[in-house]
Amino acid sequence: MSRRVVVVEDDASLGRAMERVLRVGGLDPRVFGSAELLLASSEVSSACCMVLDVQLPGLDGFALHDRLRETGFTGPIIFATAFDDREARTAAEQRSPAAFMSKPFTGQSLLAAVREALSHSPADPPFRLA
């Protein structure tokens, strides 16, 4: 069974490209354009891995991470951002992501990061009711 990967990215073209790469790589991607859309859906419970863009309208990637952890998501979370500056790095490191991808990144590196993250986690969706 393919692993469900949830991507939150507001840039439509990049979201589609990421979905393509992940699908061709054998995963089951879902793309959401904003944190709110994701939280409103029911995908959180079925996701094995999250790839979050930091610059989002509304709730940003870090806040979303915190929210996800609060609601009991224990799976790996990967941050993707173009702002490779000290502030963003610090904020990211504080949350111990599975990976920190700085844009632009290639499809291969994305796939590798996701696979790596998934390999360290249990096969079933790691969602646990808190």
Binding site: S13, R16, A17, V24, Q55, F83, D85, F105, G107, L111
Partner: protein
């Protein structure tokens, strides 16, 4: 007792001269007028009698009518009734002495008065100026008036004579001799009296020369017409006074010609009447006719000459005054003006003009001979082109901008406005150019452009992060798509449709990236203003999209609310920069505000038909009252790391575009910045 005509006239004129010297307008009291007219008329009548050619009652001229004519010429028409009334007693006295019936006397009074009235009326009707002797046209009018008046009043006069059964001569003979006599009288007396009074106020020049002329004339008159010396000279000796008369007319104008001619006339008449002198060789009637012929030939000639000389003198004077005024204006002005004579090529500069560029008048000739020497070689073709075009097209105005070399070798920017003076055939006779030094303005503009560029670069620095982010999106998308395509090809699962989809996506992202590069280039370039018709909504959207990443980083939400807008006129990049500056300004203002309250509202709406108003409203802490007047000043900033240029540059750009920019604190919190853009069309 014979009294010299000049003394007679002097006595008559005295009260009037006194009155004339007292006021700017000849308006002596009615008593004075009445007195003068009465005296002059009476004396004129006596004179006329004195000057008859004995033994027959032939009068060569009859002064009283001329006196009335002259009086009406110098007085306003409202006073003519006074002249008429004052003459009556004088007339009665002088005529009744001769034992002439009352009815005849009264008829003569009527015809005399009518002559003066007609003459004065014709002159006034045909001339706008008061003094007919000062212009050639005026003299023509005067002569015409004399003829008219004499002719018409003679009809009346002779009719009266016949009706009263007074005279014995046939009608037409009487009529003719009266016409000639009256015209002669007018010629002799009216200019002599009126020219002086009408020309009061102007000083009589060259009195020594005047004394010489009149002295010489008197002497000539004495010899030719009043002594036995001339008895055996040829008849042409009558020409001897002529050079003096011409001299008087040419050098002294109507005021010289009038009295000189009167003098000669009276002398001639007297002597011819007494059988003395050159014109007294035959019988009284023939003598009278000779004298009249002589006077009628010389009189108008003198008047014309005097008028021409006067006109010419006035022309020269006014030219001199005009020239002097021009010089004064140029010396007083601080403008740089030059005049170039087309024929000689001579170049003349205002004094300040030369000094402005560091040249002195003495050194100028050494430094440059023509304007072309001063113009920057690169600008020379352009500078000359405008001028040559105007010259060739027959226009009178041209404008050009170029650089001019100063004495110290540096160049000044000037804006030249030129004027071509053309003669009646349309040929250019001279050119006058006024140069305005725009160096400062140029430098200021250059500085403003550099500042604007610096601000854009600063903005660019601020935007660097968001620019990087903007570009990274499409680049990341391309990289991901490429890897997906490669993976598909490797596993052999690639379908044509997949490939096409991926390639299309890659292409789109490439285009997106190049758009952003173009935008960055626009920010970095130093450019001149390019005004075009714009859609403010689209412009605002583009700017907001550019600022969004930065806004997100600061946790600011940008709301936009744009109504339907008419197209506007402005420089696209400048207006984008203004809005960008205001957005960043608003974001900075909300730095210390809780995240959920950080809202920046952008709105645009039409303000009447001529402008569109854009507002950027923040929810910061507002602008303290003390700082409000200074927020648009250069280098005024409250930010620790701010340059203080954003708002001042925005102000410069908005006002240069023809709009206004201002700020107001909101009622609830924060401030709103407004700026207007002129609508197109």
């Amino acid at each position: 007792m014979y009294q010299h005509p000049n003394r007679v006239m002097a006595r008559a004129l005295a009260p009037l001269l006194v009155a004339a010297s007292q006021g700017p307008r000849l308006n002596p009291g009615w008593q004075r007028i009445a007195l003068f007219v009465f005296a002059a008329y009476y004396l004129g009548a006596r004179l006329g009698l004195t000057l008859t050619f004995a033994p027959l009652p032939i009068s060569v001229l009859w002064p009283p009518n001329a006196v009335l004519f002259a009086a009406m010429l110098v007085l306003p028409a409202g006073r003519w009734w006074l002249v008429v009334v004052a003459a009556l007693p004088a007339h009665l006295i002088s005529e009744l002495q001769g034992g002439i019936p009352l009815t005849m006397v009264l008829c003569w009074y009527l015809s005399n008065v009518s002559e003066a009235l007609i003459g004065a009326f014709v002159v006034r009707a045909a001339m706008a100026e008061a003094n007919p002797f000062a212009s050639v046209r005026g003299v023509l009018v005067f002569l015409g008036a004399c003829a008219c008046a004499a002719v018409m009043s003679s009809f009346l006069d002779c009719a009266f004579v016949v009706l009263n059964g007074w005279g014995q001569s046939p009608y037409w003979t009487m009529w003719f001799s009266r016409v000639i006599a009256n015209i002669t009288a007018d010629l002799v007396f009216v200019p002599a009296i009126a020219a002086w009074i009408l020309a009061r106020g102007t000083p009589f020049p060259r009195r020594d020369e005047a004394a010489l002329v009149f002295g010489g004339l008197a002497l000539a008159m004495l010899i030719v017409f009043n002594s036995s010396l001339a008895a055996n000279w040829p008849a042409a000796q009558v020409c001897i006074p002529v050079p003096f008369l011409l001299w008087a007319a040419f050098r002294f104008g109507p005021r010289g010609a009038g009295p000189a001619f009167a003098m000669v006339a009276l002398a001639i008449i007297w002597s011819a009447g007494h059988g003395v002198g050159a014109l007294a060789s035959r019988g009284p009637v023939e003598n009278a006719h000779s004298v009249q012929l002589y006077l009628l030939c010389i009189g108008p000639t003198l008047l014309f000459l005097a008028a021409s000389a006067d006109q010419m003198r006035r022309g020269v004077e006014s030219l001199g005054v005009s020239e002097k005024r021009f010089q004064l204006v140029l010396e007083a002005t601080r403008e740089v003006v030059y005049e170039r004579d087309m024929a000689s090529g001579a170049l003349w500069w205002s004094r300040d003009g030369l000094a402005h560029f560091g040249y002195t008048r003495t050194g100028a000739l050494r430094d440059f001979t023509s304007l072309a020497d001063l113009v920057h070689p690169e600008d020379l073709p352009r500078a000359s082109a405008a001028r040559e075009a105007a010259l060739a097209d027959g226009r009178t105005l041209w404008e050009a901008e170029y650089r001019v070399r100063r004495a110290n070798g540096t160049y000044a920017h000037v804006h030249e406005k030129g004027f071509i003076v053309r003669d009646s055939q349309g040929r250019a006779t001279s050119m006058i150019g006024a140069l305005t030094d725009t160096t400062e303005h140029h430098d200021t503009e250059e500085l403003a452009q550099r500042l604007a560029q610096a601000s854009r670069l600063t903005a660019m620095g601020e935007l660097a992060a968001s620019i990087a982010h903007e570009i990274n999106q499409p680049i990341s998308a391309i990289l991901n798509n490429v890897d997906a395509a490669q993976a598909l090809l490797e596993t052999g699962r690639a379908t044509d449709d997949d490939m096409r989809e991926i390639l299309d996506a890659i292409r789109e992202d490439d285009l997106r990236a190049s758009e952003i590069v173009g935008h960055i280039r626009g920010l970095a370039n130093k450019r001149t203003t390019q005004v075009e018709t714009l859609d403010l909504n689209a412009l605002a959207r583009a700017v907001i999209r550019l600022a969004l990443p930065a806004a997100r980083r600061r946790g600011v939400m940008i709301q936009s609310n744009c109504a339907v807008l008419p197209p506007v006129r402005g420089d696209r990049i400048h207006l984008q920069q203004v809005l960008l500056n205001l957005l960043f300004n608003g974001m900075d203002a909300m730095r210390d505000v809780p995240v959920e309250d950080r809202v920046l509202s952008v709105a645009a709406q039409a303000n009447g038909e001529a402008t569109v108003e854009v507002t950027v409203r923040d929810r910061g802490h507002g602008i303290p009252d003390g700082q409000m007047p200074r927020i648009f000043d250069s280098f005024f900033t409250t930010k620790p790391d701010g340059m203080g240029l954003g708002l001042s540059i925005a102000h410069t750009l908005v006002t240069a575009n023809g709009g206004r920019i201002w700020a107001r604190n909101n009622d609830d919190r924060g401030a709103t910045f407004h700026f207007t853009v002129p609508a197109a069309g």
